[in-house]
């Protein structure tokens, strides 16, 4: 797996990514889309990551990008779907 932008989050990220990939291959792709096996790990990983995103000022860049792009992307994808 790729590293995290925050080295201190690498361990928990690795655990979460491994959990997610297993869930994706073994459950999600086989039709069990509602289970969420990795929620707890993801919460821990996000807690670690969010501190660093804030420190680096990336959180505000993301907020801007969400505002300007997500709406149109979502609309496009939903239309296609």
């Amino acid at each position: 797996m790729a590293a995290s932008i925050a080295p201190e989050c690498n361990d928990i990220k690795e655990k979460y990514d491994t959990c997610f990939l297993k869930w994706y291959s073994e459950k999600y792709l086989r039709g069990n889309t509602t289970s969420n096996d990795c929620e707890e790990l993801f919460t821990k990983y996000k807690t670690c990551l969010n501190v660093v995103l804030k420190e680096k000022g990336i959180d505000s860049m993301l907020e801007d990008a969400r505002k300007s792009t997500t709406k149109e992307i979502d609309a496009e994808t939903l239309r296609r779907g």
């Binding site: 797996m1 790729a2 590293a3 995290s4 932008i5 925050a6 989050c9 990220k13 979460y16 990514d17 997610f20 990939l21 994706y24 291959s25 999600y28 792709l29 039709g31 889309t33 509602t34 969420n36 993801f42 990983y45 996000k46 990551l49 995103l53 990336i58 860049m61 993301l62 801007d64 990008a65 969400r66 792009t69 997500t70 992307i73 979502d74 496009e76 994808t77 296609r80 779907g81």
Partner: protein, 188 residues
């Protein structure tokens, strides 16, 4: 605005490709070394469609032409925001990404789609990529064109390396998966 597009076919099933895609930028991929970090920001499954939506932050570190740095300042580290959708019913992965860094001077919007190839849908997957690159800086058209050209050039180099690197990831994923299956069956 300049448009870069490319397409290719991977000799792996859509399921394999869509799973390996999550670890496209792992150490098995020694071609896309400009990607230094991939972080997941959010993830949710739509309960009515089963579509998995993921937001990621991709961090790149690459040499930027000196004239670009002197024009716009900044560092060689850049960030990309990516939103992806997996539709497990119609078997489509759509990934849309946009640059966070230098977004006031350059807009790079990329869309990547993975879906089963019409000719052999069970064992091959089609990859389509399109990027729209627009220089936003005011001023001379000549400079804008130059910025766009340099960006398209860099984009296409990265795209080529990305494909090669992803092939390596697909191969390793298949190998590891079959070894795992063998281990599991020995255990039974």
């Amino acid at each position: 605005m300049k448009v870069f597009s490319s397409s290719c076919t991977f000799d792996y099933s859509w399921e394999e490709v869509s799973a390996a895609n999550w670890r496209k930028y792992c150490p098995w991929n020694d071609k896309s070394t400009h990607v230094v970090a991939v972080d997941t920001l959010s993830r949710s499954v739509d309960s009515s469609t089963g579509i998995l939506r993921t937001e990621r932050l991709i961090t790149c570190n690459q040499s930027v032409p000196q004239w670009v740095l002197s024009l716009f300042g900044g560092s060689a580290t850049s960030h990309v925001y990516e939103v992806s959708y997996v539709d497990p019913v119609s078997k489509v992965v759509t990934m849309c990404s946009t640059n966070l860094t230098w977004s006031n001077v350059l807009s790079v919007r990329e869309t990547v789609v993975y879906q089963p190839s019409p000719s052999d849908p069970h064992s091959t997957t089609q990859f389509n990529q399109e990027a729209k690159i627009t220089a936003l800086c005011g001023g001379w058209q000549k400079i804008k064109n130059k910025v766009e050209e340099a960006s398209v050039e860099r984009f296409s180099q990265n795209a080529k390396r990305g494909r090669e690197g992803f092939e390596a990831v697909l191969e390793m994923s298949r190998r590891v998966f079959s070894e795992q299956r063998e281990l599991d069956s020995n255990r039974l």
